[in-house]
Amino acid sequence: MSTETLAMVDERIKAESFVTRLMKRPELGAIGGVVLVTIFFLITADSTMFTLSGIMNFMTPAAQLGILGIAAAMLMIGGEFDLSIGSMVAFAGMLFGAFTVNIGLPLIVAIPLTMGLAGALGIANGLIVLRTKLPSFIVTLAGLFILRGASLVGLKIVTGGSTQLRGVREAVGGDFIAPIFSGDAFGWFFQWMADKGLIDTLRTGAPKVPGVPVEILWFIGFAIIATYVLLRTPFGNWIFATGGDSVAAQNSGVPVRRVKLSLFMLTAMAAALVAIITVIDAGSTDARRGFMKEFEAIITAVIGGCLLTGGYGSAVGAFFGAIIFGMVTIGLTYTKFDQDWFQIFLGAMLLLAVIFNNAIRKRVTGER
């Protein structure tokens, strides 16, 4: 090819500015939201909110929700919903509690077993959706009730009548893989910083923040891996294609069924991971665990730029969506506002995000 043709430029196309390019990123809304929410709390909240301990305070619930939100985002990009993930947290928590407390399994067995069973239930969800061709919305809505009920019944069976199962911490304390799923990481580093006077310490000389809660690391790690998979692997391309138009994807040789089943499995396993982390942390599990989390996870994904129709969205967006969530939930306690503003705030955020995403989609596809 000659250099002349290489230099050919279509005169009808205006050069795109950096801002225009940025405007087309799906995660833009979520990042903008984080900035706005941060500014809001910088003005209204007590200054302790943005100290190290304050940040850990809102990042911990953000991380727990974010793990679900990123999985939900990937599933939504693939064109499906899972409304059963909240109940799955309770159900997996119940399984995990029973394995560790009642049967006394070590974590190295109990964790893969819990994850595996949850994953199998996720695949079951996917198979029903694929087989019946019903909307996943309705199929997993059934799952929401079935799993919540199963958690209640199951807990009563394993505890002999109670809906709360205690003694998990005692059962798993000292287990060699417990530090991966509970407590704080990088304790030595925080101690070192405390010794150097870089961070606040308690009167005893121990750092006020003993380390990074492990769920925050899981959250960050999951966001990085999910982003890599979505943007840099063939499987990621298949997810976008499946959600964008499953017939076109199928005709182009994308294994649509396998993609969807994997994604249903992923959301269920993400729910199990959150269950394991929070159950070890609390030392007990109950049937209300994960209540309403399915909706919060979907809101996170939508704030993160996912379209309800599938085929578009981002894991980074869901990451920031979850941080917005954590900041608003916890942040209001640092302000003079009534905490119950939380839900109003959330609903408004969701509405804004959907309207914004719709506009973005029109920009991307050039619809007029």
Partner: protein
């Protein structure tokens, strides 16, 4: 003259007691554009579906590159080198041109768990292939939704050719396009032909067919009414054949020769 890439002899296809194809013979040479013309319901779609492996004929034989061939699935036909660009194009508007181009056939780099979608190479190939077809993309990450209908058609054609199509079946590629876009697609067909790919151009628009076709076969009521070379037949004659001759002549009087 060289041997045909694909030769379909006396193809018959029934659906129950409905005869869709009643003995159709058709072949494609490398580097030629063979137009299949016919009115709605003439059997064009049944015929291309037989050629692309979606249907199996009840009778008749298919010879591909000199060997008898029976396609069990569309996949078989695709692997042999028969690519079909259907009207819906199998394109996803929200995805970038590159991601559409390589959908389901992503090039990879790296090994084991580091095996990843080689997006740089994919982008490079896409821009290059599209440029060959005369389209300058704003960028390989441009969403397909922002392309015009003709450009989308060209992406679909470029994709088929890049992945080794020997026979390219285009199902009514110009039917939904404007004048300018139509000429772009027709120009693309000329470029594809020049690469030695046999093109089957399905249309009911005689003018578009005349612009690019080397040979013309008219289907009417499931039968071929013969194949004519370029220059042996005029547009009005083709038009007449498609409509089954006399009815159109009658109509033409009342319409004042506007069709």
């Amino acid at each position: 003259m060289t041997a045909p890439i694909i030769h379909m002899e006396n193809i018959k296809k029934h659906y129950g007691n409905v005869i869709a194809l009643n003995g159709v013979t058709f072949d494609v040479m490398p580097g030629e554009c063979h137009c299949l013309l016919g009115d709605n319901g003439a059997g064009k779609s049944t015929f291309i579906k037989t050629m692309s492996g979606v249907h199996k004929p009840n009778e008749g034989s298919i010879t591909f590159e000199g060997r008898p061939m029976s396609f069990e699935t569309p996949r078989d036909a695709m692997e042999a080198g028969i690519a079909t660009v259907f009207q819906d194009l199998a394109m996803i508007p929200l995805m970038s041109v590159t991601r559409n181009f390589f959908m389901g056939r992503e090039p990879t780099t790296g090994k084991g768990i580091f095996k990843r979608f080689d997006i740089d190479r994919a982008n490079e190939i896409t821009v290059q292939e599209m440029r060959k077809m005369g389209i300058n993309l704003r960028g390989p990450d441009q969403a397909v939704g922002t392309l015009s209908g003709g450009e989308r058609q060209t992406v679909a054609i470029a994709r088929a050719v890049y992945f080794g199509a020997k026979v390219l079946i285009l199902d009514e590629p110009t039917s939904a396009l404007g004048v300018r876009q139509t000429s772009n697609v027709l120009a693309t067909i000329m470029k594809v032909r020049a690469q030695g790919v046999g093109v089957v151009f399905i249309s009911h628009n005689v003018r578009h067919a005349m612009a690019v076709g080397d040979r013309f076969t008219v289907l009417n009521r499931g039968q071929t009414l013969g194949t004519a070379k370029k220059g042996e037949i005029t547009a009005p004659e083709l038009q007449d054949l498609m409509a089954g001759g006399q009815q159109l002549a009658e109509l033409e009087g009342s319409l004042g020769g506007t069709i």
